[in-house]
Symmetry: C2
DNA sequence: TGTACATCAGTGAACGCGCGTTCACTGATGTAC
DNA sequence: TGTACATCAGTGAACGCGCGTTCACTGATGTAC
């Protein structure tokens, strides 16, 4: 922090980006201001990132890694039952969107193309992998004959959670009022859906 | 168009905004460029809009009105059956997001607060009203005793459609690859969900 | 253990750029009489 | 029907601002010997 060399500038820039994105959204975040926030001259970030886009992509990648860890923890090996664990994933999804709006925005609203870098794509795929694996465990609780495709189930869960997150569970924009908590809305939706697949609740 | 007075500048600015948003996203759209696109000096737009934000809000409002018309047309009075008509609404939703990305972005990703103006809020409410009314007709096909709340159903449909739209059905960002068409993914999800509510398909 | 030196991570000044906004203004339009 | 005049919708020049990016540079660090 003191002295000519910052010593940890890359991390400081990521921190600054998260703070700024949280305050003004992805589009309000600038390279120069991130440098200022990190207490460094406007030319310094170029030692670590080629441009603003690359810093954003790095933030998004870290976001997906944190997201994956959050979802994996919520899954907890599918205990006590896959359905209950999947519901925990759903709630963890919304909690992440609410408590880490900067990460969430960089991941999903950044205009950062998913294949801006291989690392970003991989991180995104791994996060989705948690959901997909959960969906697999859940569909395996029904007889093989009437078993729905796990990929489809995972995509439905993801879409529903993301839809609720971006419509109702963002802290910054007071999007729409809801007659219930977003987490409850998601859980209700998941239960109805799983019923529709013939999956028992317990 | 010719002469000192444009004659139709407000409309031209909206057109320009749509074109620019479609090309570079909401955050890439600027007041000055909209003026340039409309063939007018950078000071001219101030005769019609207080600032960039107000123009954006106007675009979003018009978007919601077009959206409402699209959804209402798809609903078509709930014929031949409410469930089929609801599926048509779902597909129309995704088609709108795909073919009118600029409107969709202004409506949902603009950072335009829903209550930037009463007109905007009303337009948004009316668009959602179509979905809500459709949900009401659909739930009324089940006996009152086991009838789910229409509001909840409408919110689930909206969230699922919006989630699929923003994850998979935007033309600009090649978000994620899908093993199926977004419309099919949504229809499958809706059918499973309605099954879960005990609503027959026909 | 000291020293020479390569490498690295910063500085700070400068640039061109486009944006948002303002200002006094002026050409066109419409209306009162 | 003609004319005077108020109003309106535009002009264009100017401003301050912050951003992205570059450049030659310099202080700090680490390593070979």
């Amino acid at each position: 922090m003191r002295g000519y060399h910052h010593g940890n500038l890359k991390e400081a820039l990521v921190e600054a980006a998260l703070k700024l994105i949280g305050q003004k959204g992805v589009s309000g975040f600038t390279f120069v201001e991130a440098a200022r926030e990190a207490g460094v001259s406007p030319a310094a970030p170029y030692r670590h990132y080629k441009d603003r886009e690359q810093l954003l992509a790095d933030v998004a990648r870290r976001g997906f890694e944190a997201f994956e860890a959050t979802l994996a923890k919520a899954w907890n090996g599918g205990k006590p039952t896959p359905v209950e664990a999947l519901e925990r994933i759903g709630r963890a999804y919304l909690t992440f969107a609410r408590t880490e709006p900067a990460y969430y925005a960089a991941m999903f609203e950044g205009g950062v193309s998913a294949d801006a870098s291989p690392e970003l794509r991989d991180a995104g795929d791994r996060a989705f992998g948690v959901l997909r694996q959960a969906a697999e465990a859940v569909v395996e609780t029904v007889p093989e004959k009437s078993r729905p495709p796990a990929m489809m189930v995972a995509l439905h869960m993801w879409s529903l959670a993301h839809g609720i997150a971006s419509l109702f569970a963002r802290p910054d924009d007071s999007r729409r009022k809801l007659p219930m908590a977003p987490g409850d809305l998601l859980e209700a939706g998941m239960l109805v859906y799983l019923d529709g697949l013939g999956i028992r609740r317990s």
